[in-house]
Symmetry: C2
Subunit: 194 residues, 2 copies
């Protein structure tokens, strides 16, 4: 798959494990694929850019995602900029710390947000599909939990009392934006893999 993010590769292996044989999921790094500039202006465009590049480089069917956190009071930002919210040298902790500081004066009723995932599939002969998944919830004022990655410690999904970082991987994958998007994508992947 078209990502160099080890967290995502692990999560994807789990999500797709019921649908594919384990050996079939290889990371973009293992495949020797170069990093792709994410010049799109939507999650779907960026996911397709990545999947296309890996399919072209490897000659294999490639899947990729672009995901992020969309905060209502920020008009959907950080959005496609989620991974670089604190700047190009930021990491997960810097990104979520900055977001919490930006929203410091904002009360719970205005802290709605959702995780968004666009999952893309591209084949070497040019077929393309994109599916989306969404996980809506409320932002905390302090991070909670040690699981997951990214903004997981600050979003409590609707219907939960725990942050995404307090859910087990299986619990998270069952409801997550990425789980939804890749399960939808897998319905296209199965027929392609014969």
């Amino acid at each position: 798959m078209a990502t160099h993010n080890q967290h995502k590769i692990g999560e994807l292996r789990q999500i797709l494990s019921g649908l594919l044989e384990a050996g079939e999921v290889i990371g973009a790094g293992e495949a020797g694929a170069p990093d792709v500039a994410e010049t799109g202006v939507t999650f779907a465009q960026n996911a397709l850019l990545k999947a296309r590049a890996v399919a072209a480089h490897t000659g294999l069917i490639a899947v990729a995602d672009d995901s992020g956190l969309a905060v209502d009071i920020l008009g959907g930002a950080p959005g496609i900029f989620s991974a670089r919210w604190a700047g190009r040298h930021g990491d997960d902790t810097a990104n979520l710390t900055l977001l919490l500081e930006q929203l410091a004066d904002i009360s719970p009723e205005h802290r709605r947000a959702r995780f968004v995932c666009a999952a893309a599939l591209a084949t070497p002969d040019g077929a393309e599909v994109v599916e989306h998944g969404y996980l809506p919830g409320v932002l905390l004022t302090e991070p909670r939990g040690n699981g997951g990655f990214g903004y997981d410690p600050i979003l409590v999904p609707d219907g939960q009392h725990r942050s995404c970082a307090e859910l087990s991987p299986a619990e998270k994958n069952a409801i997550s934006h990425r789980g939804q998007a890749f399960r939808a994508l897998a319905t296209h992947l199965g027929p392609l893999l014969g």
Copy 2:
């Protein structure tokens, strides 16, 4: 006026100079007014919070503004969070540097933004007015110019070739979001001052 920002006080004195006698504009700090938590979720709410607090504290007619930069591809963010974009210890340079890093991969056709100002007036007996002003343009990839403050060095207004920080104060005030909003507000202020 309800601001502790010396840049804004200077700009306001200029904008209002044709409309009021010079001695009539005093800063919130000079008036001994405390800082107000900006808990609103719109520019107008925050401007009113500040104007109300100063009117209550001083017994005088108070004007205040809340202003910021709304970037299209960020869904209107930084918006009301413009002054703390890089976190609570950030300054103008940190804020615009972070914004440029977030948008580093974004091409000129997707770099539209506008300055927004809500100017509020509050009287000690509870009368309130809010007027808005907008300055649309395109974001640069590097700051240009030494004038102005805030995000001025990175916005080129429509119809201009210079950034807001390359305009003279008089040129900027003639077209700026803050100039528009306060000139509109002044039409209400004149009658109140009798």
